[in-house]
Symmetry: C2
Subunit: 474 residues, 2 copies
């Protein structure tokens, strides 16, 4: 490989299909794999710009030994690197180019404010206890500690009196992204899926990995066999279910990442009725529910009948700044059955016990602290802080005539740039205002013409970013 | 479901194929699913005792609604519940039966001693820092923090000067069990695998889940398409490679769980040569390497050529008592290529960035502390403590004429009960000595006739367990 790497000083730029190398390279030391540009040149394909060193063929030539193991064909279908590492790479390249610029990151949606003390104290106390004979504990239940599962049951009771969520139906995990992969592993290769378009990329990418899809179609920018439910201003960001085909699984996120749109009770009733009619399973992503301040449902289980058709995933990441601490959960109701009557919860339990070993006990102590009265109050203050950030961004961007969506019940502002390429706008904002955003088309073709601005940031950075955006687009 | 559950008061006992219900039931509140016995009666099938309520058929009858989603057929192939939850369930049932007995748990292999202060302090400091503006961090790299990856590179350098492991090849994770599942997701359904028999159950179970296997054969107690490499006293616990067929993947664990056997340098050279000849990929599980006190290799990368054929997984669980903290890592060398020349590390990077979001930053701070000079010393003391436990157990068990294996370089004692059923011996030790062990056959048919005794325990419990075992078998 050392030899192969050296050969790479002469690099070429490959097509969209090899764009995974871009994000890959960010994982490597500069010496191990490199293109000859600090930031690879780009090829344009329908508004998505991707780039790559032509690594594979060179490696094949130069390396003397390869195993006889065939590469998983599903991985070869995957397009450009997973979105957020790619954004991170572009950010790093920008900083390298402008070492003196004050780059403000409103891209990946990463929390920035400290974890409230009352919650951090819970984790400190657990770390301390683990160093004592009385307080030490080893393996916990793969499904999560009983106390935390019980606290999450109460959390649901607080959200709505009729959710019916039991502690035994709550599976504590290291985060929603990880649970999505485990759910896909459970569903297997033979299910069909639908996603909102645009949507959080992990739904689609994990589906491709598991072999649920056909190949990628460059024209439509869609994978074969996935149904993309367009969510745009025209349909108030709620899919047209009347024209949607039946799929086995429907991924649905509300408040939505990236659009910030939040489904009303009536819309969710429609969704549940649609799933029930079709015998589909909804995977409902409620990771942003705490940002809801109107009467939109905070859990799918507010909707009668949802227990027979819906799994809910959620996370402490955006509730309490746990993006790095890693703690989430998934609810699988006992009533949810496969076609043969077999309870889905049993297979999910099997996945959790076989391919997972419990969330970190320190993180779980933090989760318990989050759900205490003081912890809850602290989380509400944290969320209020970020929502004030949203207001500042929305005000700035609308003041220069841009149209925004989302924001009301979510930490994301979805800014419309009609007729423009998302990646172009992303590049312009980065180059000229030194602000990292996320190109809407990174969330699916339905996001083209939009840019997502995250409201996670220190206040002074948000205020400055707002000023820069006003200047840039004013 | 409430109705369905009530119907279960009249339960029947199903065949081996439904035994997954047993472990499943441990995840549920008693009210949600129950058999009419506190501990289900058992049916005997070739030495494995399993039991089940006939849940599925009743549920199907009584529940009014089922989705039209077909259950993943691979899950239906899975046999009795994942081993360790099952052991936990039996332990709980025993405690319920003998509330006054002092049950000693030497089953699951769970660490019992406090995390050394120097390491716990690292985690406390991180939890504290997360509550400050300066110390807060959100999402880390999915591959792990740079400082920890660099420290693990140094760790390999310390093990052996020629491993060649680079920081960029180390992927930090929440544990080896989770990485096994992610590796399987990467390999996909079309690979063939070989495992040591007996072996850690997660290799086989994750393989079945991913669809790499055929059905289970009750006669051989093996899944079709998996090659079981028998490891017994007859072959010094090293598989007969001359008679082994080629498979794509070879899972190999040394020091071995459960047998405690440790491959010599010569044996590992044979293994690498075998993989190289066949173009196979070795997944080398080195989770117990720190227990090696002779000159057996502590990493597969001590073997020349291993970088072209081997992935190594490892974990802080048994190094520092991190079973509940959750921290491990996987090394994928750049030289490891699929048949088409595509680097395996690229696909593993893709799995990690798409289906994982980094190990807890607090756990990673603990990992860094582990690898500091003081942390390393503390881990060595911890390991020495457990190895003294091993001596006590081995001495007791051999003093009454039983033959043991393992122990020398591992925290497990593999006790031979020739001609007896592992589950029978397990049940006898639990019933008469109130000691939880692990039946060897739970690790595969090759473990039949053995029981694994874990040396993880407080000294006084180990001493008492040793006494009870002497009495029981003396």
């Amino acid at each position: 490989m050392a030899m192969a790497s050296q050969a790479l000083v002469s690099s070429t730029f490959a097509n969209v299909n090899s764009a995974k190398d871009v994000s890959f390279s960010s994982a490597f030391s500069p010496s191990s794999l490199r293109c000859n540009d600090a930031m690879p040149r780009m090829t344009v394909s329908r508004g998505i710009r991707v780039a790559s060193c032509a690594v594979e063929s060179l490696e094949k030539e130069k390396t003397s030994y390869a195993t006889k193991v065939t590469r998983n064909a599903n991985f070869a279908k995957l397009q450009a690197g997973y979105l957020f590492p790619e954004i991170g790479r572009r950010r790093a390249a920008h900083i390298a180019k402008y070492p003196d610029a004050k780059v403000i990151s409103l891209g990946i949606g990463d929390t920035t404010e400290p974890i409230p003390s009352v919650i951090a104290e819970g984790m400190k106390a657990k770390a301390q206890a683990l160093s004592t004979l009385e307080g030490y504990s080893g393996y916990g239940a793969e499904q999560g500690e009983g106390s935390l599962r019980a606290a999450l049951q109460k959390f649901y009771l607080k959200l709505h009196p009729d959710t019916g969520v039991k502690a035994s139906e709550v599976f504590v995990s290291d985060g929603a992204k990880c649970d999505i992969a485990r759910l896909q592993m459970m569903f297997g290769a033979d299910v069909t899926i639908a996603v909102q378009d645009p949507s959080y990329p992990a739904y689609v990418d994990s589906s491709v990995m598991m072999g649920q899809t056909g190949g990628y179609e460059a024209d439509s920018q869609q994978y074969n066999k996935i149904h993309y439910m367009k969510c745009t201003p025209e349909n108030d960001f709620f899919p047209d279910l009347a024209s949607a085909p039946r799929t086995d699984i429907i991924f649905f996120c509300s408040p939505n990442n990236p659009t910030g749109a939040t489904a009303t009770k009536k819309q969710l009733e429609e969704l549940v009725a649609f799933a029930k009619k079709n015998g589909s399973i909804i995977v409902y992503d409620a990771a942003y529910s705490i940002y809801i301040s109107d009467d939109s449902p905070k859990t799918i289980y507010e909707i009668p009948g949802a227990r027979e058709v819906a799994i809910e995933i959620s996370s402490f990441s955006k509730f309490a700044g746990f993006t790095g601490v890693r703690l989430g959960w998934t609810v699988v109701p006992e009533e949810l059955l496969y076609a043969d009557g077999f309870p889905v919860i049993k297979d999910f339990n099997r996945v959790m016990t076989t391919s997972f070993n419990g969330a970190s006990n320190i993180a779980q102590a933090g989760g318990l602290a989050c759900l205490s009265d003081d912890g809850w109050k602290a989380m509400e203050e944290l969320v209020a802080f970020y929502k004030k950030n949203v207001e500042i961004i929305v005000e700035a961007v609308t003041s220069v005539g841009l149209t925004t969506y989302g924001g009301k019940n979510a930490p994301y502002v979805w800014v419309h740039f009609p007729g423009q390429s998302s990646w172009d706008v992303f590049a312009k904002i980065l180059e000229e205002a030194h602000i990292v955003t996320t190109p809407g088309s990174g969330f699916g073709p339905g996001g083209e013409g939009f840019v997502r601005i995250s409201a996670f940031g220190h206040r002074e950075n948000i205020v400055e970013a707002a000023e820069r955006l006003k200047k840039l687009f004013g």
